[in-house]
Assembly symmetry: D2
Homo-oligomer: 147 residues x 4
Amino acid sequence: MSLAMNREELEDYMSQIFPQVSQDYSVQDLTEESIVMRLAVGDRHLRPGGTVSGPSMFGLADVSVYALILARRGQQSLAVTTGCSMDFMRKPDGNADLIARCTLLKLGKTLAVGDVLIFSEGSDKPVARATMTYSLPPEGSAAAAFG
Amino acid sequence: MSLAMNREELEDYMSQIFPQVSQDYSVQDLTEESIVMRLAVGDRHLRPGGTVSGPSMFGLADVSVYALILARRGQQSLAVTTGCSMDFMRKPDGNADLIARCTLLKLGKTLAVGDVLIFSEGSDKPVARATMTYSLPPEGSAAAAFG
Amino acid sequence: MSLAMNREELEDYMSQIFPQVSQDYSVQDLTEESIVMRLAVGDRHLRPGGTVSGPSMFGLADVSVYALILARRGQQSLAVTTGCSMDFMRKPDGNADLIARCTLLKLGKTLAVGDVLIFSEGSDKPVARATMTYSLPPEGSAAAAFG
Amino acid sequence: MSLAMNREELEDYMSQIFPQVSQDYSVQDLTEESIVMRLAVGDRHLRPGGTVSGPSMFGLADVSVYALILARRGQQSLAVTTGCSMDFMRKPDGNADLIARCTLLKLGKTLAVGDVLIFSEGSDKPVARATMTYSLPPEGSAAAAFG
């Protein structure tokens, strides 16, 4: 088991494929089993009440697991998100960045599963948890289909 | 059982509380048990490949159930999203609006559960399904807390 | 689109592959898109308080979708359950059978998704909802693997 | 933060409230934040193919989080399971016990969330993951209601 891309290669590649949003995200740490991703929280991520919106947390969870799969399998691996479960447990601090800690529970031939805990920076109580599942493209093909 | 707000009142109220995004959404139909919500798909909802992003579909599902709870319970009801499960089953058409068909399975004193099917307009095969759960504020209080 | 097995063939086949539990379940209705399955509630399905246990409801949801996939794809289709989300909304009546109403949202080449509403017989308020996802075996193989 | 029951008290109490199934489960480890629960796998937990059934894994996940909530809040705390999401990732070994490692992500006034990883004993690759959510009874009442 090893990484197909290191942290710098992963961020470069993500800025190519997600030019509109990649500046929001930065990889804080990367191992073969885990990734730590930061979302630089800005006005467009907030919702009334000064908290971070649900879609922003969903996006962070999805990007985190997707990036970890990319780092493991390399650029040819255009995984397709097939499922998501999330629990929203505490109100995120609208003045703090969000930190996602993601672990890959399974990276099979056709299916990947990643678990994510999301924290407001500086707190050790998770604001949300997510599990994301992906369909993986067969070896040699460019992208997964929707099953 | 009856509605605390009709369709026009609901759209007016949503434009007050969600001024940044309310122009994206419009209520197509509203009954005591169900709502049909349209997302006017624009560039900011797309991701590479010309398809609608996951966060946009999450946001549509959340807004749909939230709006239906509002219509049933009235303006004092600031429900808090506590959970979500989604399955992404087909690739949305980036050139079509998304239509969410939402049913309220439970509207209890402290907990609400809504089911959503999301379609690309003009297709009868769902691109995604979601179940959203909410914590409801006790009678007379302004907002639910995170349990 | 058509059924590979009718209701009688489906029940016969299920009694062969699930001899220990098949007498608990009976197919009430079967179409190309939906199935209605009854769980004959007995003592072993109950938990303290005289209500039906969570594992019994999980099992009913899983059997319902699995049976509908079988009816559509035929006996060679040994689908593998890969995911489940459930919401438990009301207390089931321990003195009534459970009725599961299941719809197939997707039956792709490698992935199937089914939605289930579970009722205590005689009530129109669902006690639980479930979404079950399955990995499907490629054509000509005997069983799906775990991705 | 402290435990209202230690491991022996917890097992004693569970054998009172779940007499039919408590001999299947044993608490291997208990801290304020986590529990390790063993399911002694027997014939009734198996399904065709010599693997452990989905309902057995659901039951193990539910019992694990429920027991941890009991240990933290004490005997008066009759939590009600309101939601579950599970991913089944590998085939459990029908000849090995299952070990559930459970962490409490939130124990609020009215809502609890626990994460569970399930392993076949002797393997470090999880066969399943689960998140279980619970409604908690208000202080002084005997049991939670269904929201």
